[in-house]
């Protein structure tokens, strides 16, 4: 298995910086994007299988972004990270293809655990890179 790559998508730069620093400390290779379009650009260039997406994004929303990613990649483990949600939001997220759902503020320990479990799943599935072709 190669680098454990994580994509963080949030329009709040402070949050991106903090999470990048935290995940980097635990040995993850972190890619960040501040919008859905930027995130799709990143994913077009490289295969990243674990993602944390903010729902509220400028332009395309986190839900649409997830749907878009799921069109090509049904394997990746994609987590929603939102400042506000409710039960209906949770249902929406599941429907859009999110694997898990975290409401801000969330303890880093929970995020690390989620990342770890994601990579454990990928390990078990033996799928590390999704064929971009």
């Amino acid at each position: 298995m190669g680098d454990k790559k994580i994509l963080l998508v949030d329009d709040e730069d402070q949050i991106l910086q903090m999470l990048k620093e935290a995940f980097s400390l635990y040995g993850y290779k972190v890619k960040t994007a501040s919008s859905a379009e930027e995130a799709l650009d990143v994913l077009a260039k490289e295969s990243i299988m674990v993602m944390f997406l903010d729902l509220k994004l400028p332009g395309m929303s986190g839900l649409d972004l997830c749907r878009q990613i799921r069109k090509d990649n049904q394997i990746a483990v994609i987590h929603a990270l939102t400042g506000y949600s409710n039960f209906f939001g949770f249902l929406e997220c599941r429907s859009a293809g999110f694997d898990d759902f975290f409401t801000k503020p969330v303890a880093l320990k929970a995020l690390f655990k989620a990342a770890e479990e994601a990579f454990e799943k990928l390990e078990r599935w033996k799928v590390f890179v999704y064929d971009l072709a």
Partner: protein
Amino acid sequence: MTDTKQDMMEDKREHPKAENLPKIEVGCGAAKDDDSYAAGFKAAGKALAGITSYRLSAVIVFASASYHLDEVLSGIRAAVGRVPIFGASSAGEICNGTLSESVSVTALASPFLSVGVGIGKEVSTDWRKAIHAAIDSGGLNRYFTPQDGSYYNSMTLEGRSAFAILFSPASTSHSDSYSPEILEELKRLSLGRLLFFGGAAVDAEKTSGHENFIFYNDQVCSDSMILAVFETTLRFGIAMGHGLHPTAKRARITRVRGYEVLELDGRRAADVFAEFHDLKKADLESKPLFEQNLNHLGMRDALGHYTIFTPRCFTPEGGILLAHPAPEGAFLVLMEAVEDDMIAAGKNTLRRAMMQSGINRPAAILVCSCFLRMLLLGNRIDEEIAAITDIMPGTPVTGFYSAGEQGSNDDHISRHNNESIVILLLGNELSYAAQVAGENRIMQRALEFRISEQKRLEKELADQVRFLQTLIKTIPSPVFYKDQQGRYLGCNRAFEEYNHISRTYLLGKSNWDFLPRDQAELHCKVDADLAEKGGKAVYECSIAGKDGELFHFLNNKAVFHRADGSLGGIIGVLVDITDRKNTEEALRASEEKFLKAFHNNPTMMIICTADEGRVIEVNDSCLRIMGFTRLEMMGKTSGQLNIHACLEQRDTLLRMMEEKGSVRNMEISLRTKSGEIRHCLFSAEQIQLQKGNHILLLLQDVTDQKRSEEERLQRIRLQSILNMAGTICHEFNQPMQVLSGYIDLLLSRAWEDSKVHGSLLKIKEQTARMTQITRKLMTLNDPSVQDYAGIGKIVNLNGDQGK
């Protein structure tokens, strides 16, 4: 004729109901005076004393020629005024006794008596001319037209009869009297229908004087005659007598020339007459024969009465000149006078006049007595009049002593006579003919009245019939009438048209002949009830039109009766109520429609009086929602029903109604019978019902809408709060995430510095608390607020109270 029948009528009109008044009033008076005027005036005055009730009809005057007669007449005229006056100069006057050198006035006054008086002059010159002058001047032609008796017939029809008084001149020293000729001519001209009474005027010297006079109003005329015709409905009688007796001496007139009897029994008449008296002719030639106290001659008439022929003188031819002509071949009888019989002649004559006329109530006795009787009776002359007065006491006796008299006997033939007494008796009673004519007149008037009344009634009846026929014909409603058996007697055109039946066909038919059975039965039942109970009946019936359209009628029927009160039949008038029925049906349908719309309308509706607000109608919705029964609401006011939850609202409503007359969609709260408050939109409008002001109230119950609206607002409010909370959470959680992340990173690095580590843990703890707050905010579902320290309200995030 000066007084006319009209005058009679006028007098009757003056005393129309004078049942007890006499039919005639007669007054007589006599006077002697050196002053002629005074004598006339006094005598007239006495005569007028007897006249109290009626206007004078005529005044008859007898006066001695020794007076200044024109002055006498002036005196009389002054007393009696405008009334015909006539009379004659006299040898003596009679006024309830025998007088001489006097003025005697007789006044007659009666509405049943009219007098025409004419004068003829120069009688000795041409007595015929004088007669016609008298007839003409008196307007008496109708009595003296022998070729035309129509006036007498009309008199007879009206119960009137007539007599004439004739005063003609007696002979004078130089002229003969033509009284007999005048009488005979008048008899001829009047066809013998007039009875004559009268005598010849004489002067103071009897017949030997120069002239005598008659009186005609204010004229004193000599050698003249007066003819007065009295037309009357009173009873009267005329009789003549003398009291002389025939002797056995008699002779036939064998030769005569007018008044002159030339021979008797073929001998000279003068000789025979002298022999009758056992005298020589020469002894009698010296003076007038009638002055020599000789017996007179008489001639027997058919009734055995003797007419007296007074011998006046012998003629040169040895004849005798008589006072009036005697016919050749007749016998002249020498008459002798017995004084007592002569005195009784007056009363006997009066009796005959009474018997002839049937008078029971005498009014006056007029007497003409021959002056020769004065000579014969001498100083017993008074007894003649006294005998008359004895048998008829109290009845005025007036007249004069004349020289030749006219009168009639029981044969009703007027004759001239000499040495006679003639009586005209006037009765104070109507003649039988007058009574019959009077009754006839009354009956005729009654009959005329009844006939005219009947004609008037017939005309009225004809007019009414015509009017009714026109009315029935013209009236647009069908009219019919039928007999007791229900057979049609007639109908109008409208009836024919509605029933499509001709009148000709209808007559005699009954309803069964042209109406459907059910209708005929209905009509017959009503007719039978009417015939039994009488009165009127009104009921509805219908007739099918040609095109099948049904006409509805109100049939008004009543019985009619014949003149004798028996039932005549039934009359009916049909009033077309088809339009009315259709309108009623439309109205009923319309009413039903509106009634259903009213009661089934979900909007509550109330109609109440404008003045008191009492409920007069309420719909079912209102009853259902408000919980009252109709009975509970009817007639009540809102105050009595206590339905206004807010009295201020009620006052506002009343004020608005008063100011604007209507209210639109005002929200009010009403209390139902059970006390539940219902919110309603209130509208009101003034309406006119049955000429009264009313208010129509519409109440729309909006309680449920109001409640759901409030819930909707609550939801919107909650959603807003939730949205706001989400926003706050989102915005709050971003920095919280940064804070939380960095604290976790710092804790992982500063574990060896326990002081820093402790502080970071406290920050983490507070951050976790803040996270809890945002978590509660995100799950908020009850936006209810609670008091915050008495200065405001805050949402309870904990779901508990008072924390």
